[in-house]
């Protein structure tokens, strides 16, 4: 075909469209690149804007918290600053012991219940299991202060209203443990379900094929197989429970003495921070809240880090 012949052919609509596309792309290139650079810069600014407050929190914590750390701070109980010694705030041993006992007692109930409920969710698609799955989802998003009201109604005054006087009721560590346990179970339940579903079906079936009952398979095959995942679930629920203030506000009594007995009135770290910072008339006590806050954050981060390390190791093994 000669050049003249090609030129005499009717114009191809597809070719025209291509040309149009090429032309538009070339014409808008400058504008699109500029817009892109602008928006990318905005995203970068957002990153910086996000980092500033988050880093500021950490700096404040370290700067103001570390100065309060001393042996006495961790071994004594709160004292009232006097005119002669305005910086004498005592220590936070009561809050550390209180938090440890309250969360430990809460876990005592929450871990078995959460894991068993998780086994049910992982193994059953019954109506009840589906409802519980949705309920667990809702519970983890519910404001935790509602649990404070619940624990107050049920444990602190509830039994009195019905004329039943059980030992250990009233303001007590137990009431706080109860509230935290209700908070922890749905977290453990959901994470345990995921961990338990991760155990390969072939192993379960092998166990069943050997004639083992489901309970035996659950105990000896599924739970050991999912152990790292379960541990991660439990640790994450710990980290959440240790930092919760709202459910404890009016149920544990906020005592100033060290006690290991959960039937007594107790203190807790987040509650003590709240009260020192918001209600204390002494500037030194308000400032000392930083010392305890730093300790609380370090504790929560260590628990979280442990959970993450276990989870990461698990993922490596799976691969």
């Amino acid at each position: 075909m000669t050049v003249e012949a090609i030129q005499e052919l009717p114009p191809d609509p597809i070719l025209e469209r291509r040309e149009l596309v090429q032309r538009t792309a070339a014409q808008t290139l400058g504008r699109r690149t500029l817009m892109s650079k602008f928006m990318v810069a905005l995203c970068g600014l957002a990153l910086i804007a996000a980092l500033i407050p988050l880093v500021a929190v950490i700096i404040s914590l370290l700067q103001k918290g570390l100065t309060w750390w001393s042996v006495n701070f961790f071994t004594q109980v709160p004292a009232i600053p006097s005119i002669t010694d305005p910086n004498n705030v005592g220590g936070v041993a009561n809050a550390i012991v209180g938090s440890a006992v309250i969360v430990a007692v809460a876990s005592l109930f929450a871990i078995p219940i959460g894991v068993i409920a998780g086994i049910l969710l992982a193994d059953s698609d019954s109506r009840f299991a589906n409802i519980m799955r949705a309920v667990a989802e809702i519970m983890t998003g519910l404001p935790s202060i509602l649990l404070g009201i619940f624990a107050y109604e049920m444990i602190v005054v509830g039994f009195d209203n019905y004329g039943i006087h059980l030992p250990g009721m009233g303001f007590s560590g137990l009431a706080g443990s109860f509230a935290l346990a209700v908070l922890m179970v749905p977290i453990i339940m959901k994470a345990a379900e995921t961990a338990l579903r991760g155990v390969p079906g072939t192993i379960k079936e092998a166990g069943l094929a050997l004639g083992a009952r489901k309970s035996v398979v659950a105990r000896k095959v599924i739970i050991p197989g999912a152990l790292p995942g379960l541990l991660t679930a439990v640790l994450l629920s710990f980290a959440r429970a240790v930092g919760e203030t709202a459910p404890l506000l009016w149920v544990i009594g906020a005592s100033d003495v060290v006690t290991w007995n959960p039937k007594n009135e107790m203190a807790a770290m987040p509650l003590q921070i709240f009260q020192w910072a918001l209600n204390s008339p002494y500037p030194s006590q308000r400032d000392a809240a930083w010392g305890l806050a730093l300790f609380l954050v370090v504790a929560v981060l260590i628990i979280n880090l442990a959970a993450r390390l276990i989870a990461a190791r698990l993922q490596k093994e799976r691969r």
Binding site: R32, M35, M39, V40, C43, L45, L47, A50, L54, A56, V57, L61, K64, I113, I116, A117, I119, L120, D123, S124, M139, G141, L142, I145, L146, G148, I149, F150, Y152, E153, M154, G158, P200, I203, G207, L210, G211, A212, R213, S215, V216, K220, P224, G225, A239, G243, E244, T245, A246, W250, P270, I273, A277, L278, A289, A293, V300, L301, L305, E317
Partner: protein, 327 residues
């Protein structure tokens, strides 16, 4: 996983039931298993029913005496037994809106920057920083807000905003530091790690083929992010925003520490105000019986609002998923 198999199978086969009583291999023998599972889970379900009943039950006297005034009444005055939650609802919604107004653009921009713009070695650092900050207890954010940010707001931010807007609404009034604006800002800082962490996860899993396909067609980087990455991650982003909203609505102690606890309609963002949760937190411990019932009613309203936000979020996720599936 093979390790687990080796470890557990000998134990399982040594189980006393297996060799000696093969007859146990029947559907019936599983009944104990199901009884324990359903029994324990059912027990917890009962606790949750008790939870619901106790919250609603504690509020019944208040609904009886005040009726719908509890929701639509404009005065909250516990000393005279006048309980109207509307100013508190307004405080809750407004502080949440301030937080979302800041957290959504900054959070999404940060997530995009972490996944698509910064070098890989910084990515891990930023990601873990954000995740660890999401775990910091709320009382610590409250402490920081009250002792560090409030003075800064009073001396620097509020005068600057007043100057910039000429002392007009919504930046007018007393400069006290503690205010609706501060509560919104602290909520923003608190939900930011949540928004970043969750939306980063979904942005990272948008298929690379699609991103590279769009790039090879000549799309600019922003066009790729806007037309491919964000739509691909839409359901997850909506989910993240829903969670952040619910968290901001229900946040208690941090807000109680920085909002001033003043149950009046906030007339500007500089006013002290109160939210549903902060009012419960600050008043419950020393409340009269009538007030306890009214605070229970606040809890019911708060629960309903959180449930509503979750429901809307779920509906939007479903709709977005259907649309994405239809393509």
């Amino acid at each position: 996983m093979s390790e687990v198999l080796i470890n557990t199978s000998p134990q399982a086969s040594q189980g006393p039931d297996l060799a000696e009583k093969p007859k146990r291999f029947s559907a019936k023998s599983d009944s104990a298993y199901w009884i324990v599972l359903y029994g324990v889970t059912g027990l917890f379900a009962l606790v949750l029913v008790a939870f619901l009943l106790s919250i609603i039950g504690s509020s019944i006297p208040a609904w009886r005496s005040s009726g719908l005034k509890l929701i639509f009444g404009t005065t909250w005055d516990p000393n005279n037994d006048v309980f109207g939650a509307l100013p508190l609802i307004a405080g809750t919604v407004e502080s949440t809106l301030i937080a979302l107004f800041l957290a959504i653009p900054i959070g999404l921009g940060t997530a995009l920057a972490i996944v698509h713009m910064i070098p890989r070695r910084f990515r891990v650092f930023f990601s873990s920083l954000v995740e660890l900050l999401a775990a910091v207890p709320s009382v610590v954010y409250g402490l920081w807000g009250l002792l560090v940010v409030a003075p800064w707001f009073q001396v620097t931010v509020q005068p600057a905003l007043e100057k910039a807007t000429g002392n007009h609404w919504p930046f007018s009034g007393q400069e006290e530091g503690v205010s609706l604006l501060l509560a919104g800002f602290i909520l923003f800082v608190m939900v930011l790690p949540l928004v970043v962490a969750l939306s980063r996860d979904v942005i990272a899993v948008v298929p690379n083929d699609q991103v590279e396909g769009a790039l090879s067609l000549g799309a600019s980087q922003w066009q790729v992010l806007r037309k491919v990455v964000l739509p691909g991650a839409r359901t997850g982003i909506i989910g993240a925003i829903t969670l952040a909203t619910a968290r901001a609505l229900g946040e208690t102690v941090a807000v109680a520490m920085v909002i001033g606890g003043n149950p009046l309609f906030p007339h500007s963002t500089f006013s002290t105000a109160a939210t549903l949760a902060s009012t419960i937190a600050l008043e419950f411990a020393e409340a009269t019986p009538a007030q306890v019932a009214a605070l229970g009613a606040l809890a019911v309203i708060l629960m309903a609002m959180t449930a509503f936000v979750n429901w809307v979020g779920r509906r939007m996720v479903q709709r977005a998923a259907i649309r994405a599936g239809g393509k």
